[in-house]
Symmetry: C2
Subunit: 235 residues, 2 copies
DNA sequence: TCAAAAGTGTTGCCGATACACCCATGG
DNA sequence: CCATGGGTGTATCGGCAACACTTTTGA
């Protein structure tokens, strides 16, 4: 087959949750890297780059993620592939970019902060980005909001042991709205995915919250766990 | 940038619904093409091929779809990109494949049936396919079941005017189970996406059903149309 | 004793489900 | 008149949202 030669690139939208809002409210943050050449010189872009010949797509996403954030993600998932002809008007060839999205626990994400060409910004308030990366981030945000009901995703933003309030704050940051604490508590406990460690967080100016862990198995989703998500069956 | 050169391919999983089951029950079908060279010579594979330099990804998917089914899809959507190193063990280079899925109305899909190297098979009962295409089809089926709640997707399997029973049969074929007719009727009517044409289908040995059309706007989904899919907000 | 957040109880609403029943047509 | 599928009515059940209330800690 006479396949024309094209460039394949891999980029990653890396999310983390930080208590940076007014009153300690949690917000979504992501790292961007500064373009050091044309096109879009000096603008911010998603971390990424060309795909090496001996890497899987996930390998490449992991490598660029480590380069940017200084560590590995606890969750990595493919978002979509972008291949419009006008993506990279400066380059001669067309570039097809496979985009992944990733989640980092908050305490780890501070590690890579030092690099001058990397900045962390609030995901919901970004400047215009290089290429079509503003659009890509919008897609990733939408996907994350759909996927946060999966406990596998929620856990990847948190340390191994956490309070239900922390888990709720992750949901609130991603959904962009507050969530009723009593109902949230019942929901996640009923899902069977949480296990009480028996420990509590001391030193709070109020009743000390219990620490939980995720269990390996259980319901696939925190929410929408009813018998049938769609209509019914008739035998 | 010294980007290594790799092949980019585009494949499409093309779905249609046909009344081929026992008692005229509807089933999901898809077209496959026979491999005419190594690797996987003589086996069935998804329609697709290399990406030309001046095509968008969607252009390529549309072109291979037309080549296989003889016409254009009424719905085309990206599924995922597969780039494992062991996908094409016969080829020297690695191949990254961007996979789309598509929906065709039933009456149109018979057109391309003639070609000797194309066959239509039941989507739920396929033989082993070339490459990792069995896995790809499984992913596409799962995605289709998630997306069928979107009226945009459901309409793409049907002609412009259709009965609610036909719409229900499309859902049944995709979900793989029967659906309660009275409740289904109420659901789709309540969604505001259907408009009565005033016409009816004559010649039936029973009460003639009404013909409907899709309206342009309305609820985004037939189902899960409640105020908040996830938990609640507290202002 | 108070403030604050953890955690519990309760109620009303609404959608999903199941299924009984009527309607309209051809044979 | 009967069979068949279209189409309507209705009762039940369970989850979710709202919110009042109790508990437990540090200050």
């Amino acid at each position: 087959m006479s396949t024309p030669c094209a460039s394949i690139a891999v980029s990653t939208v890396i999310f983390t949750v930080r208590p940076t809002g007014p009153g300690g409210r949690h917000e979504l943050w992501l790292p961007l890297v500064r373009r050091i050449r044309e096109p879009y010189h000096h603008m911010w872009a998603l971390p990424g780059g060309p795909l090496d010949g001996d890497q899987t797509l996930e390998d490449a996403a992991t490598a660029y993620l480590r380069l940017t954030a200084g560590l590995d993600a606890s969750h990595l998932e493919q978002l979509a592939t972008f291949g419009g002809l006008t993506r990279s008007q400066g380059a001669d060839e067309r570039v097809v970019t496979v985009v992944y999205w990733a989640a980092l626990p908050a305490q780890d994400a501070a590690a890579g902060e030092e690099d001058l060409n990397v900045t962390w910004l609030r995901a919901t308030d970004l400047p215009p980005l290089a290429f079509d990366h503003s659009l890509v981030v919008a897609h990733a945000l939408e996907r994350l909001r759909d996927r946060i009901a999966d406990p596998t995703v929620a856990r990847s933003f948190l340390p191994a042991a956490f309070t239900i309030a922390q888990l709720r704050e992750v949901h609130e940051a991603i959904l962009g709205r507050s969530v009723d604490a009593p109902n949230f508590r019942r929901h996640v406990l009923r899902s069977g995915r949480l296990q009480d460690t028996g420990e509590r967080v001391p030193g709070t100016p109020h009743r000390p919250p219990a620490l939980y862990r995720f269990t390996a198995d259980g319901a696939p989703d925190f929410f929408r766990s009813g018998p049938n998500p769609l209509h019914q069956e008739t035998p």
